[in-house]
């Protein structure tokens, strides 16, 4: 059983939905990021999603774009992100970590090399935003061989006839993009999510995480009740941004404030009834 499977099974047994925070690797600087990462499980993260910055994040809204650029200025790379995961694993061997990013950094590292290094570092799942199943062949085998779950994005535009194809190699969970749009912009309605759950659950038993536009503890509560997990990204990234000074440096209370916000979001999932 993979870490993701274990974690989703355990949460289901608790009779609640999971909460998945997203933070950008090396945002706003390597040390602060490492502290945030280390603090997320204690703040209530059931699974952690780490954004791997790319210069051209065509699926991301302004908040995540800006955080990626900050991180790139701090010298972030895929390799350094894996090192940060390995560091995290020294003190936490249970909380699943999912990397979310774009294909080019992986392609340049080499699919085989990446898969082995990611597994060694303790990565559990991979979301590659711009790699649809049509183009995935060269990455799929190495990733599967390394025991890493392929987390598929499914959008409102992914119609029923395409679903079996998209879900074919999916494992761990799948990520429902709740709006047709980029991260952190519009928010979905609960009705539309309920309809999506109904539609998608006919096709798979995998846990369903819902993200894009989920910003508050209340929404986390509602969404995690309807689906299996709620993902919050831009709202957390914006909280990081709000804790930067004029020079873009982390203010002293950044980690405490951001983790406090994460705690509120996580409580949304835990207290929902």
């Amino acid at each position: 059983m993979s870490r993701l499977e274990r974690r989703f099974a355990a949460i289901k047994a608790e009779g609640r939905g999971a909460f998945i925070p997203f933070i950008t690797s090396f945002d706003p600087d390597p040390a602060t990021f490492q502290r945030l990462l280390a603090g997320l499980p204690g703040a209530g993260a059931d699974v952690i999603e780490i954004g791997v910055p790319f210069t051209d994040p065509a699926a991301d809204g302004p908040s995540v774009q800006a955080s990626g650029l900050r991180a790139l200025k701090q010298g972030v790379s895929l390799k350094k992100t894996l090192a940060a995961v390995a560091e995290f694993r020294k003190s936490d061997n249970e909380t699943p970590i999912v990397l979310m990013g774009y294909f080019n950094p992986i392609y340049i590292m080499g699919c085989e090399t990446f898969a082995k290094a990611a597994a060694e570092a303790g990565v559990d799942g991979l979301i590659t935003v711009d790699l649809p199943p049509e183009e995935e062949a060269e990455l799929r085998d190495p990733i599967k061989a390394a025991g890493i779950d392929i987390v598929r994005l499914i959008a409102p535009t992914t119609l029923d006839d395409r679903l079996p194809y998209v879900l074919e190699h999916a494992s761990g969970f799948f990520y429902y993009v709740s709006i047709t749009g980029i991260t952190g912009t519009a928010s979905p309605t609960l009705d539309s999510i309920e309809a999506a759950v109904k539609r998608l659950k006919k096709h798979t038993d995998l846990p369903m995480a819902v993200g894009f536009g989920i910003r508050s503890p209340e929404m986390v509560g509602k969404v995690s009740q309807v689906a299996d997990a709620a993902v919050v990204g831009s709202a957390i990234v914006e909280r990081v941004t709000a804790n930067l000074d004029d020079q873009g440096q982390a203010k002293p209370d950044l980690v405490e404030d951001v983790l406090g916000f994460v705690q509120q979001l996580a409580a949304g999932a835990r207290n929902a009834n």
Binding site: N104, P132, L153, T158, I182
Partner: protein
């Protein structure tokens, strides 16, 4: 001419949109169904006589095709070697070859029932052409343009606005063409139901590289007939500038299976290929994945995309169309480069000798012709794609040359 098939350079892409290692459809899942829909609609349209008839009608009566193939006699004499012909797509309505593609795509969008058009633009030529056809066919048009380009191509910004388009200056990254394309993709993801994205160059996810190439091949097909009429034989060489590579693939593709025809794609060397300020994806880059396709890119060792540099906004892009990457790997086309300074010199020479102000983009192609033609025998024939006019560049060049205005 070789038959189309396995031994042809003209048979690509494969059914799944690849040119060898290159091409493909690297887009987010939200867009994937839409990309498949565009492919299906385009393949149906290009087999539909009524679509082709409408396309040809507007190409003839509105764009002004065929464009002349002009023997540049004074330029030829000055260089003292091969005979130089210009394929004069700068005479098209809207001032560049971009009209050929925009017309085709806007007609396709209409056919698909789309009611809103978006585009990215660098030099503004593609934006102007898109805005033009949106005006003609009464469709709202939003053009994404890097803030740097908004400034350096101000005349085209004014033209687009006068044509009724909304211009969105893009302030991310280096604020040029690459960033405009990111922003256009973001818009498209958020408006999949009603919006069609008119990509301006032979790049992006399949079917765009193939579709844009097909619409641009009108240049090569005409040039072939025109040179046979003028000289009774095919040319020895074709030369065209390359940013994404739409004017070059449009001129080159119909000649790819003619063994005797050499082809030179001229990349923008900016301040020099030995600096890191250039836009030469093939001469200075490596294969990677950006904007929906695998192709040669300027990038660092971690797969982050480098900023390109060129004085020409239309060439200021860190990638190149995937079919070019494949043709480079196959060795069918040679990829060379010309610097900012060489392009400015070529611009001035063209104005002085031929009375033509070329756009800074084809001025790069001319710079290569000027470097090379004199070394060839006088019975050799070169066709150069003069794919755009320089009106948009006159203020920037005048400023650079210190001319009082």
């Amino acid at each position: 001419m070789s038959p189309q098939g396995v031994n042809s350079y003209r048979a690509g892409p494969s059914p799944d949109g690849h040119f060898g290692l290159f091409g493909g459809r690297y887009v987010a899942e939200t867009l994937m169904p839409l990309i498949l829909e565009v492919e299906k609609a385009y393949y149906a349209a290009r087999q539909d006589p009524s679509f082709l008839e409408e396309l040809n009608h507007y190409l003839t009566h509105y764009v002004g095709r065929p464009s002349p193939l002009y023997f540049a006699e004074r330029m030829t004499k000055e260089l003292g070697g091969a005979k130089i012909y210009f394929k004069r797509d700068e005479l098209n309505h809207t001032g560049s070859h971009k009209a050929n593609n925009c017309l085709g795509q806007v007609l396709l969008a209409k056919r698909m029932g789309k009611t809103r058009i978006i585009a990215e633009t660098g030099a503004g030529q593609h934006g102007v052409a898109t805005a033009t056809f949106c005006a003609l066919f009464d469709l709202p048009c939003v053009v994404y343009m890097g803030a740097t380009d908004v400034e350096r191509q101000a005349p085209n910004v004014a033209r687009m606005k006068l044509l009724g388009a909304e211009i969105v200056p893009v302030t991310s990254g280096a604020q040029t063409l690459k960033d405009a394309m990111n922003e256009a993709l973001r818009d498209w993801v958020a408006h999949v139901d009603d919006t069609y994205y008119v990509i301006g160059t032979a790049a992006g996810p399949h079917p765009y590289p193939e579709m844009v190439r097909d619409f641009q091949c009108v240049m090569g097909n005409e040039a072939r007939e025109q040179i046979l009429a003028a000289e009774g034989r095919l040319p020895d060489a074709l030369v065209a500038c390359i940013g994404g590579g739409s004017n070059s693939i449009g001129l080159f593709h119909p000649f790819l299976d003619d063994d005797g025809v050499e082809m030179y794609g001229v990349e923008a060397a900016g301040r020099g290929l030995d600096t890191d300020e250039h836009a030469a994806a093939i001469n200075g880059g490596s294969p990677g994945v950006l904007h929906g396709n695998r192709t040669y890119l300027l990038q660092d060792e971690n797969g982050q995309i480098d900023e390109a540099h060129s004085i020409s906004a239309g060439l200021d892009y860190p990638g190149i169309g995937p079919e070019h990457s494949w043709l480079a790997a196959e060795g069918r086309i040679k990829y060379v480069a010309a610097t900012d300074d060489e392009a400015i010199e070529a611009f001035q020479a063209c104005a002085r000798l031929e009375g033509i102000l070329p756009a800074l983009e084809p001025a790069h192609a001319l710079a290569y012709v000027m470097r090379w033609a004199g070394t060839l025998a006088k019975d050799k024939i070169i066709i150069m794609n003069l794919c755009g006019r320089g009106d948009k560049d006159v203020f920037a060049i005048a400023k650079r040359l210190g001319l009082p205005l």
